[in-house]
Assembly symmetry: C2
Homo-oligomer: 255 residues x 2
């Protein structure tokens, strides 16, 4: 697997972006160095300036370079940024870090969706949903409890997976269920009795919670999940810039 989000497709600007990203992260332009001008890059890669600008927009969004009118782009950092798929899939993420992910299905039930679930998954009132509870591990040690609600179309596939399936998103992709957009909310929550039992912590001890709603390319919700991480195992990292930002801080409005 290429593990390079840019190189995957045949688009020219992604190839250029991948090449520049590699050059930057290996320090070819220095820690706070300046990139060549857009025109020079266009000539080097044999593409138009517009294509170079598309490539640079990707790097800017990742926080790798600045971009300011009148002066050349400056390298902001050489940190490696995970790709989208690594964020969506615990399995994919863990593997990309060299850790061995594991997952044990604790329960899977089919039941009528409540009002909130209908709203989130955009289902008719009274529709059924599939609810899974999974304990996720890294190299054998429990780190996260995952409670996921699937709409019927997706749940039917999940229900047929073996209980010890490490990844759920990969088999889903093979069935044509794609994950392309996600909204995440991150906060702190106290462990309930079930969390405590599964994660081996005390009831009431703090957990990092990620709520996630995922949609496919058509905008149809395919997943609604609540993940609860043991403190000290993971942190979430975001870059944003004036140019474009997708992160916001919310006042709590309940669960």
């Amino acid at each position: 697997m290429p593990a390079d989000p840019d190189r995957a497709t045949g688009a020219l600007y992604r190839t250029v972006a991948a090449d520049l990203r590699e050059a930057i992260t290996t320090g070819r332009y220095g820690e706070a160095g300046r990139l060549p001008a857009e025109g020079a890059l266009a000539e080097r890669y044999g593409v138009s300036r517009g294509t170079v600008r598309q490539a640079l927009a990707l790097l800017r969004a990742d926080g790798l370079v600045t971009s300011r009118r009148g002066t050349r782009r400056v390298v902001l950092g050489t940190a490696r940024v995970q790709s989208f798929s690594e964020l969506l899939s615990f399995t994919h993420w863990a593997r990309s870090m060299g850790e061995e992910p594991g997952g044990r299905l604790e329960s899977l039930v089919r039941r009528p969706a409540d009002a909130a679930e209908c709203e989130l998954l955009r289902l008719e009132p009274g529709s059924e949903v599939y609810v899974t509870l999974r304990l996720r591990t890294l190299s054998g040690t429990p780190v996260m409890v995952e409670r996921t609600v699937y709409p019927p179309r997706v749940g039917e596939i999940v229900a047929q997976l073996p209980a010890d399936a490490v990844s759920h998103t990969e088999p889903l992709r093979e069935h044509g269920i794609l994950f392309t957009d996600a909204d995440h909310t991150i906060d702190v929550v106290a462990a309930n009795t079930e969390d405590a039992r599964l994660l081996g912590c005390r009831r009431g001890s703090p957990l990092l919670r990620e709520k996630r709603r995922t949609t496919d390319p058509t905008g149809t919700p395919v997943e609604w999940s609540q993940d609860r991480y043991l403190p000290g195992t993971v942190a979430f990292s975001i870059h944003n810039s004036l140019a474009s930002s997708a992160l916001s801080r919310h006042a709590r409005d309940g669960d």
Copy 2:
């Protein structure tokens, strides 16, 4: 104040984006409705298709619409997304939500930077830094402890602000210190004695921690901050999509 990130500048595509955003959030195209074709929008606004595409890229980055080859864009959600400035400045954020922000400076010291701080703020070893400790409140109740390290250029200005200054970023902006790029890391931490005293919680109780490193347009670090929030007061919200993502999940590598 316009409170609209798009409308601020004179760029055409931002005007178009602002108009479309407003139309979407007020439900003009429905909850999962389809947007007009790019060409139709171009004609409506009297701009080229390229400009419309720039506008739509902004909305896509905010998670408002999908975008897929072959079919019209679909409205993903009508949620209001905060702007970048609301994320960077506690004061600005609080005000945008109708809450009254407050801040009390607990201490401000000047001292030599340690190795980690030199690295983060890109300073010469042995440089001095300004360190502030502030208690931030919403409508009078404490919600966050903010520990910020400033490089000399910025700290000198901060040091001259009155102790009861609500906002630090606004006076800094007036002095020509701009905040344009930030990297955030979010995790959970236990309250230390000082946290507990200021926030009125028990020592060891969980806090939501945001570590933030901010740079100006030239890529020069201007701030390194650790904010610790009382649980239940704020949550962080992120949108990402396959097209472009700036969020990642990290394994913890210490502080």
